[in-house]
């Protein structure tokens, strides 16, 4: 799973995961972005960021990890 994610924010404390996403969006405005995180706080922050920026966010949990997919 890790090798296919665009961003790996596992182990990073808030707000670093959502800042990684913010930078990625600012850098290229991708139509689809996948992010790997390992805590629910990051999932909630990134989901709120996605909603604020007009994107949809879907999270899939796999054990302690979550893969978030952001789409425009």
């Amino acid at each position: 799973m890790a090798q296919t994610a665009d961003l790996d924010a596992r182990g990073l404390s808030c707000p670093e995961p959502v800042l990684m996403v913010q930078r990625a969006v600012a850098a290229g405005d991708p139509a689809r972005l996948t992010v790997l995180v390992d805590n629910i706080c990051a999932v909630e922050n990134i989901t709120r960021f996605a909603e604020h920026t007009g994107r949809k966010a879907a999270a899939v949990q796999d054990g302690d990890e979550y893969t978030l997919t952001l789409t425009k």
Binding site: L7, L19, L36, R48
Partner: protein, 362 residues
């Protein structure tokens, strides 16, 4: 309004109400909760400093941590982790306490003081926001204390177990502890009430991720006002509670456990704000994270406790008479140390899309 926002506002209202109730039940004025003051009191109870006016084994602290632990276990979000620059976190926690005891309160108490009409806290809030703004500049430039790692659950349980042991000490062997006969340390609600208040607030803060630093930080960085709504709700509840109980007193002078030196109130809270952003959350949030298994936050709390002891041993802490010369020097040293920590932990190139593919393989 989103469900998350409604939830955090409701939690903030309850937390504010609990804080007012604990003050009415015997805690010092505008000190239903104060993470800095209470850790300082615990350090005194354990004899880590000998300031006789501030010695008490505050059950609220253990309650906050254990409330978080219980909620995290109930919601399957307990996760033992650590290894993200622990010594740096200890130092940051130490200087958070130096700043807080310059101001005489953690950010949560700053809100409680505001709700009691203490305008010195408004000056502190300005400094706090300024410090957080500086912290956000560091984050924008790629500041990171690096990743945490998953650890055994026993490691995550160690800090909550220490808190339970402190409670046991209070219940079974109080003769080993020191207790203030006068001063703020002698003022407290009944043990079970304090513990219950801590448990409730700890559980709510864990569930909602409430964080006073995060509120302002996220508003600046992300235009995300979710956490800020929680802080505003605490303020509203405390304000209403104090008005009902006749404890609201607007002004600068004569406020409980506070001084009127505006410059050092501002600078003290600026140090708290900056260092807390680098830690990833306010003192309350560090306790809550420690309760849900985060060893890095536990180290930050231990750093704060050590800082509290040194603040009194070295006469750095302010009193109602104002700041001390030693305290002013310590706050300036704190700014220098936090600046060095910030500079030493900037990523050369903040992560961009795709760049983390390689990090995923580390």
């Amino acid at each position: 309004m989103k469900k998350q926002t409604i939830r955090i506002i409701a939690a903030g209202l309850v937390i504010g109400a609990v804080a007012v109730a604990l003050t009415a039940a015997g805690n010092p004025g505008n000190m239903g909760f104060c993470i800095a003051c209470f850790l300082r009191d615990i350090a005194g109870a354990l004899g880590l400093h000998r300031a006789e006016a501030v010695e008490y084994m505050r059950p609220e602290i253990a309650g906050l941590v254990l409330g978080s632990t219980i909620m995290a276990l109930a919601t399957r979000s307990f996760s033992a982790r650590g290894g993200s620059s622990p010594v740096t976190r200890f130092v940051l926690g130490f200087f958070v306490m130096v700043g807080a005891l310059m101001f005489l309160g953690c950010p949560l108490r700053m809100i409680l003081r505001l709700g009691g009409g203490d305008l010195n806290a408004l000056v502190g809030l300005a400094g706090f926001a300024g410090g957080i703004w500086v912290g956000t500049l560091c984050l924008k430039r790629g500041f990171t204390l690096k990743r945490t790692y998953i650890l055994r659950r026993a490691e995550g349980a160690a800090f909550p177990a220490i808190m339970a042991a402190l409670l046991l000490l209070l219940a079974a062997a109080p003769g080993l502890l020191l207790f203030s006969a006068k001063g703020p340390g002698s003022m407290h609600a009944a043990v079970l009430l304090s513990l219950l208040g801590g448990l409730v607030v700890g559980a709510l803060a864990q569930r909602t991720r409430l964080c006073t630093v995060g509120g302002i930080r996220d508003a600046i960085l992300l235009r995300d006002f979710n956490l800020l709504a929680g802080g505003a709700a605490i303020f509203a509840a405390v304000l209403i509670g104090n008005l009902i109980l006749g404890k609201f007193k607007l002004g600068f002078s004569g406020q409980p456990v506070a001084h009127t030196d505006g410059l050092w109130n501002f600078l003290g809270m600026a140090l708290v704000g900056w260092a807390s952003v680098l830690l990833g959350g306010c003192p309350l949030r560090q306790l809550i994270l420690a309760g849900e298994g985060n060893g890095d936050s536990a180290i930050a709390v231990i750093g704060m406790t050590a800082g509290a002891a040194m603040c009194h041993n070295f006469k750095l802490a302010s009193s109602a008479d104002g700041p001390t010369a030693n305290g002013k020097i310590a706050v300036l040293i704190g700014f220098a140390v936090v600046a060095v920590i910030a500079a030493c932990n900037l990523s050369r190139a903040p992560a961009r899309a795709g760049a983390a593919k390689s990090a995923a393989n580390q």
